[in-house]
């Protein structure tokens, strides 16, 4: 030990400059780190003449690819650099919030029906572009028009509306000699009970009420199907007041479909948007509501159930059949420095030839938002597409029977209806209590959003 220390001490003796050296080295490290971070920062934010485009990663991968290709084509043509990013079902809203808050949103983004009104403060006014595009195409269909503008000012350009419907195993129904269902109660329940075989893990119906796009859409539709609604004709909250009776019946049905009738598989309350697709393709469901992505996925994989599936109009209830429409829109951000380029891009991809290319790759997901596109022969090429088209054309806007407002959009965006269903199924609340609780939340949102 002594020897070692002595050696060490001798070494130290010879290095009386150690302090200066240390200071020098520290400064070097700190300085270079600072420089490094600075370089990183500028690398990270190299804002050259570049377009940042956010596209939505739907489950229809073929369509996603074509759209990306078209945008790249435009970029090559205009000699512009394009940087893609993709938002998915799970992180779409968070991405927008984070980017807007950070002050660096993309130049242009594909948003769902909630986007134009939710992010209105950050979006550019595109009224002129919208009108220019709509004119030669016969005008926008009503549900698409409402989503993209407020008081005539457009904050989004509708592009397509998700097609879909009740995907049902026509082979099983044929086997049992059953007719295609038109109403949830009693038709769908009947079909479900008669066709399911739980010993083989085949369930009659698959419809989650969880906080996801599928659950959200279903809850909105079922309220209308029973004559209820979230808002009244004047856009005031009506969930637990004006339409209480009807909403109670609707909610009761939704909850019963899981708890009482025993036609749904276990675990359905934790399903995400993808779960019913997976379950149906695994042969576990007789029928399920879904967008065209399910039909597309089976086709793309040459799945054995593709031929055995029919896509029907979404079923209805005692007050009729209502389907919420979900138009996806382009949103151009105020913070972008490339406004003209962004508008140019929209014109490019909305060109009828290119849209046709996209649409045919989407197997029914790219539903029409313009009147002329509804007459395209594509929709007659497959009986299932016909069903999807009819579903789209009957589309009802969020907020019905009142106007579409930022508040009504916000209620959907926060999955208030799904939470409400969850409180009954899982939380043990009575239907009435859950409605009243949700009504308070709707009122709160109404108050906040009317103020903003």
């Amino acid at each position: 030990m002594d020897r070692r220390i002595r050696q060490l001490a001798e070494q130290v003796d010879a290095h009386h400059i150690s302090r200066r050296e240390f200071v020098r080295r520290t400064a070097l490290i700190t300085g270079s780190t600072a420089v490094g971070l600075g370089v990183l920062s500028s690398m990270a934010h190299a804002q050259g003449p570049k377009m940042r485009v956010w596209l939505f990663k739907s489950y229809v991968t073929g369509g996603n690819d074509i759209l990306a290709k078209q945008v790249e084509g435009w970029a090559a043509e205009r000699k512009v650099q394009v940087e893609f990013d993709w938002a998915t079902f799970g992180d779409r809203e968070q991405k927008f919030v984070a980017a807007i808050e950070a002050g660096n949103p993309p130049d242009i983004a594909e948003m769902n029906y909630q986007g134009p009104l939710r992010y209105r403060p950050a979006l550019r006014d595109v009224t002129k572009l919208a009108k220019d595009l709509a004119a030669p195409r016969g005008g926008l269909l009503p549900f698409a028009e409402r989503v993209a503008q407020l008081n005539g000012q457009y904050s989004g350009i509708p592009r397509l509306v998700f097609g879909g419907g009740l995907h049902i195993r026509k082979d099983i129904l044929a086997e049992k000699g059953l007719k295609m269902p038109k109403l949830y109660d009693p038709d769908v329940l009947d079909v479900a009970r008669k066709c399911q075989d739980t010993s083989k893990d085949l369930w009659g119906f698959g419809q989650t009420l969880n906080r996801c796009d599928d659950g959200n859409a279903f809850m909105q539709n079922i309220l209308w199907d029973y004559g209820g609604a979230t808002w009244d004709k004047d856009g005031k909250p009506a969930l637990g007041t004006t339409y209480l009776k009807e909403n109670m019946a609707a909610l009761q049905f939704a909850v019963d479909s899981i708890q009482k009738h025993k036609v749904q598989p276990p675990g359905v309350m934790s399903w995400t948007d993808v779960s019913n697709n997976e379950a149906y393709m695994a042969g576990k469901l007789v029928c399920t509501n879904n967008g065209a992505s399910l039909y597309y996925a089976m086709g793309a994989r040459k799945h054995p159930l593709y031929e055995k599936t029919q896509v029907l109009l979404t079923p209805g209830g005692p007050a009729g059949t209502f389907v919420a429409s979900n138009p996806y829109c382009w949103g151009l951000f105020k913070a972008s420095k490339n406004a003209e380029l962004a508008e140019d891009l929209v014109r490019w991809v909305e060109d009828e030839k290119r849209f046709e290319e996209y649409m045919t790759a989407c197997a029914g997901q790219a539903g029409t938002v313009y009147k002329t596109r509804a007459e395209h022969p594509y929709w007659k090429s497959d009986p299932n597409y016909e069903g999807m088209l009819q579903n789209i054309l009957r589309g009802v806007w969020n907020g019905y029977p009142g106007p579409l407002t930022p508040a009504s959009i916000e209620v959907q965006a926060q999955y208030i209806l799904c939470d409400m269903a969850g409180r009954v199924v899982v939380g043990g609340l009575s239907v009435e209590a859950a409605l009243k609780e949700a009504h308070k939340r709707v009122e709160e949102i109404h108050r906040i959003r009317s103020r903003a």
Binding site: H16, R19, V23, T26, T30, E93, Q94, F96, V97, A98, I100, E101, R118, Y119, P121, A122, T198, D201, N210, R211, P265, P266, G267, V268, M269, S270, W271, E278, A279, A282, K284, A413, Q414, Y415, D419, A421, G422, R423, V425, V426, G427, G428, E437, I448, A452
Partner: protein, 314 residues
């Protein structure tokens, strides 16, 4: 040891002004402050300042894309009466105490197992530490897949292999079961930390104590109760408090497995904070959620800090 000042190299020589400073700031103050500066800067900029900013933000209304509006305690008051928030608090407590309790027991078991006479002790220690070391996100995704209602292996084993259930359970979709499942994952991930800490503590207990007790006729259980447990008491307190803080604020496991569902039955405060901020897009309120139980957290931290510093000085 008399050392004449003549023998000391430059730095340690006392000059008049410096003696005064040294008396006030400590003999090593120059080197110390140099060494400490990075940490101080860090603490100030990454913790102290954001923390203060957080308190301010929690008293504002902040919607996306719009500047904050000061509203005082309105967020806190609103939260107090909000059923969803209340349930998140309750769930947080259930999640935390359920997990920590079992982790404690399992940790003791693990430590006992590893102190027993076994071959390849360090190998087994290494194996049992893996859940703690592996990325939490990987483990959470793994269990999400294992718990899957239709294709997961857990249901497969229970239904098809062992035949104990007629059909699969919704591990993450039935109310009570979902909480049990996330607690289970947290226990799986966290018990090695308890185990390894207790192991260290047990190793520090002198063997003579056990020998003496054995000579005196004490049974295994008695030896455990009267020697082992007191011996690791301090570590236990530290580890339990640490784990309580960590578990209470755990985000990943619940976010990935259930996102707080079904129907909010596994919603805990960290996930609720995130949801309020990026889902409901009410940033001010979100921070109020995070800061709501701050007093309790602060007390816990103070107590824990004291124990940890005490342990250091031992």
């Amino acid at each position: 040891m008399a050392i004449s000042t003549a023998q000391l190299p430059g730095e340690l020589t006392n000059r008049p002004g410096r003696v005064g400073l040294k008396r006030v700031l400590g003999p090593d103050y120059r080197m110390a402050y140099l060494f400490i500066t990075p940490i101080v800067l860090l603490v100030l900029s990454l913790v102290a300042y954001p923390f203060t900013y957080a308190i301010y933000l929690s008293m504002t209304h902040k919607l996306v894309g719009l500047p904050p509006v000061f509203v005082g305690f309105e967020n806190y008051i609103r939260l107090t009466w909000d059923g969803f928030f209340q349930r998140a608090v309750v769930n947080s407590f259930i999640f935390t105490f359920g997990s920590v309790g079992f982790k404690l027991v399992l940790g003791v078991v693990m430590a006992l197992v590893l102190t027993a006479n076994i071959r390849w002790r360090s190998f087994w220690t290494g194996v049992l530490l893996i859940p703690w070391v592996a990325p939490t996100v990987v483990s959470a995704l793994n269990f999400l897949w294992i718990f899957d209602g239709s294709l997961g292996v857990l249901n497969y084993v229970l239904v098809r292999v062992l035949g104990v259930l007629p059909q699969g359970l919704g591990w993450l979709s039935e109310p009570g079961l979902a909480m049990a499942s996330v607690v289970a994952v947290n226990i799986w991930r966290g018990f090695p930390f308890f185990g390894i800490s207790f192991l260290a503590g047990m190793k520090a207990i002198p063997a003579e104590l056990y020998e003496a007790a054995e000579v005196d006729g004490a049974s295994v259980v008695q030896r455990f109760r009267h020697i082992t447990l007191p011996g690791i008491r301090n570590i236990m307190i530290i580890v339990v408090l640490l784990s309580t803080i960590w578990t209470f604020n755990d985000f990943q496991i619940i976010y990935i497995l259930t996102k707080g569902g079904p129907g909010g039955t596994t919603m805990v405060m960290p996930v609720f904070t995130y949801e309020t901020a990026f889902g409901a897009q009410r940033l001010g309120e979100a921070i109020a959620v995070a800061l709501y139980l701050l007093p309790a957290l602060a007390v816990t931290i103070m107590v824990l800090a004291r124990y940890m510093r005490k342990g250091r000085k031992a």
